[in-house]
């Protein structure tokens, strides 16, 4: 098996594992979003400023993910980024979506407060990658090595 093929397969396995890990999160989030009374009451008790702080935390996770992936594409000899705005937007949107879902999940599960924020940041870091890869299939934002 060639090295490129093996790398592609490893990347697919990694993406699948990430999705598998996120699946329970998405299920919980969907349950929370359907408006169950106990969850809605719990979310109502959270002050508005806390939601803003969570948004900032997921932005930080998305930013870390964006910079991490950007650094690989900006290395000397790398192909570069064809559409930087699409690249950044895809990463940040993925970070916000993953951060929000993990926040809903953590809040519903009664996770300790600091741990909820930790999960938000880590999820945003990983979620950015998933959305960016999905967008890259439709509109390649990165150049290809010639």
């Amino acid at each position: 098996m060639s090295k490129t093929r093996m790398q592609l397969q490893l990347r697919l396995i990694r993406d699948f594992l990430i999705l598998l890990g996120l699946l329970p999160t998405l299920v919980y989030a969907a349950t929370a979003a359907t408006g169950q009374a106990s969850v809605a009451a719990e979310l109502d008790q959270i002050p508005g400023l806390a939601y803003a702080v969570t948004f900032v935390s997921s932005s930080l996770g998305g930013l870390a993910g964006t910079l991490h992936r950007m650094s690989k594409h900006l290395e000397p000899g790398a192909a570069g980024i064809l559409h930087p705005k699409v690249f950044v937007a895809a990463n940040m949107l993925g970070g916000w979506a993953a951060g929000w879902f993990s926040f809903l999940t953590g809040t519903q599960a009664g996770t300790p407060t600091l741990l909820v924020q930790g999960i938000v940041v880590v999820s945003a870091f990983g979620g950015a990658a998933i959305v960016e890869r999905a967008v890259d299939k439709v509109l390649p934002a990165k150049g290809k090595k010639g």
């Binding site: 002050p47 702080v53 935390s57 910079l67 650094s71 000397p76 300790p112 924020q117």
Partner: protein, 146 residues
Amino acid sequence: MKHLRLLGWVKLYVSCSLFITAWILLTQQPDWMPSRQGQYLFALMAGILTSAGAADAVINDLLPERYRACRVASAKYLIFTGIAAFQMALLYAVLIDSVLSLADMRYALDALVATVVAILDFLLQAQARKNAHVEDQDATPAAAHP
């Protein structure tokens, strides 16, 4: 060079600020962090980030250029977004489990400073890599001719 030293001092401040916060939490045991294990875990992770951030600031920015911590330098944007995320997590915990005071807003200020530092560091690093790559390309044709 002067700007780099200033950035180094700012990074040192941000790292020390997180260290002081973790120390205070460990010694004073606030009501909104009742779990002792949670305090130790938080202190451990904060200690790792503080050490990495301070090492980057002192070795890579404040000391002469012959001193270099390459592993830390390559991950500096992750370190400082991590520090920012920690500060925002603390602010969130105070918002949820305690009463927010004006003094707690320093977490937001430190997070903002850490985020700006992370972005500036990344941009400087990308620029330095680009300049080094251009210099290598310029030097190569000259070396080919005897």
